[in-house]
C-alpha cells in the first residue's frame, strides 16, 4: 500500500515538473519570437533551453541535458549576445504597406506546418506510442553515450567534427575584414 502511494506521489511530482517545464518552454518560445529587441529574445532562449534540459532529464537523457546547457546556453547564446552587442540595439521597423497580407500568410503557413507535423508523426508512430520500453539506470549516461558514439556511430562522430570545422572556417571567412583585389 505504501509502495503504491509512494509511486503515485512520484508520478504527481513528475507530472508537476513536466507541466512547469512545458509551460515555461512554450512561454519562453513565444517570448523569443515576440520581443522587439533581439537582446531580450536571446535571453528568453536561455529559459527555453533550460526548460528543455529539464525535459531531457525526465526522459533519462542526462548527457544530452548537460550538453544542451553547455553547448547552447554556454556557447551559442553567448555568441548571439556578443553579436547583438556588436551590431547595436536596432528595433524592427513597423510594417509599412501591405504587411497584413504577409503576416496572415506567415501565420497560415506556420499553422499548416504545425498540422502537417502532428499528422505526419501520428500517422507514422501513432500505433507504437501506447507502451514505453523500460530502461536501466545506464541509459543516457556519459559512458553509454560515449560507447555508442565511438563504437556504433563513429562515422557520424567524425562527420560532425568535420562539419564543425568547416563551419568555423566559414564563419571566420565571412567575418574577416579582408579587402579582396578585383583583377
Amino acid at each position: 500500500m505504501s509502495v503504491v502511494l509512494a509511486a503515485s506521489a512520484g508520478n504527481v511530482v513528475v507530472w508537476m515538473v513536466w507541466l512547469v517545464a512545458g509551460f515555461s518552454c512554450l512561454a519562453s518560445g513565444i517570448a523569443v519570437i515576440s520581443f522587439r529587441n533581439p537582446f531580450f529574445s536571446a535571453l528568453a532562449l536561455i529559459g527555453n533551453l533550460a526548460s528543455l534540459a529539464v525535459m531531457y532529464l525526465l526522459l533519462s537523457a542526462e548527457f544530452v541535458a548537460a550538453a544542451q546547457v553547455l553547448v547552447y546556453a554556454g556557447a551559442v547564446v553567448v555568441m548571439f549576445l556578443f553579436v547583438i552587442a556588436y551590431v547595436g540595439p536596432r528595433q524592427e521597423e513597423a510594417w509599412k504597406d501591405g504587411p497584413r497580407l504577409q503576416t496572415l500568410g506567415a501565420v497560415l503557413a506556420a499553422g499548416a506546418l504545425l498540422v502537417e507535423v502532428i499528422v505526419a508523426v501520428s500517422l507514422a508512430a501513432g500505433n507504437d506510442l501506447g507502451h514505453d520500453s523500460t530502461v536501466g539506470p545506464v541509459f543516457g549516461s556519459p559512458s553509454y553515450i560515449g560507447r555508442l558514439f565511438l563504437v556504433d556511430h563513429l562515422l557520424a562522430f567524425e562527420i560532425t567534427s568535420v562539419v564543425l570545422l568547416i563551419a568555423a572556417v566559414g564563419g571566420v571567412i565571412l567575418g574577416s575584414h579582408v579587402k579582396r583585389e578585383v583583377p
Binding site: G10, N11, V14, W15, C25, L26, G29, I30, V32, I33, F35, P38, A42, L45, L49, L52, M55, L58, L59, A61, V64, A67, V71, Y72, A75, V76, F80, V83, I84, V87, E92, T103, A106, V107, L113, L114, V117, V121, A125, L129, D132, S133, F139, G140, Y144, I145, L148, F149, H153, A156, T160, V163, L164, A167, A168, G170, G171, L174, G175, H177
Partner: protein
C-alpha cells in the same frame, strides 16, 4: 515511465517547432530569425530524445547531439553573415536584403 507519456512530449515538440516556424516567417530581423531557427531545431531534438526513450534506443540521443553540432555550425555561419551585413552598412532586415532576388 511514470508521469507523462511520449505523446505529451511529441505534442510539446510539435508546438515548439510551430512557434519557431512562425518566428522564422513573421520576423524580419535576421538575428531573431536565427533564434527562431534554434527553436525549430530544439523541437526536433525533443522529439528525437522522446522517441529514443520510448524505444530504449540510444541512437536517437546520438542524433540529437549531432543536431546540436549542426545548430552550432549554423549559428556560426549565420552570425558571420550578420557581421558581414553590418560591416557593409546594409539594413538588418531580411525583406530589404533582396539582392539575390532573380
Amino acid at each position: 515511465m511514470s508521469g507523462p507519456g511520449t505523446t505529451w512530449y511529441l505534442v510539446l515538440a510539435a508546438f515548439l517547432f510551430g512557434i519557431g516556424a512562425l518566428g522564422v516567417l513573421i520576423r524580419r530581423n535576421p538575428l531573431i530569425v536565427l533564434l527562431s531557427l534554434e527553436l525549430m531545431l530544439n523541437g526536433g531534438n525533443l522529439a528525437l530524445i522522446a522517441f529514443s526513450r520510448h524505444f530504449a534506443d540510444g541512437a536517437g540521443q546520438i542524433f540529437g547531439l549531432a543536431v546540436m553540432a549542426v545548430a552550432a555550425s549554423e549559428v556560426c555561419v549565420g552570425l558571420g553573415l550578420v557581421v558581414a551585413i553590418n560591416r557593409k552598412k546594409l539594413p538588418l532586415d531580411v525583406d530589404r536584403l533582396s539582392e539575390l532576388r532573380g
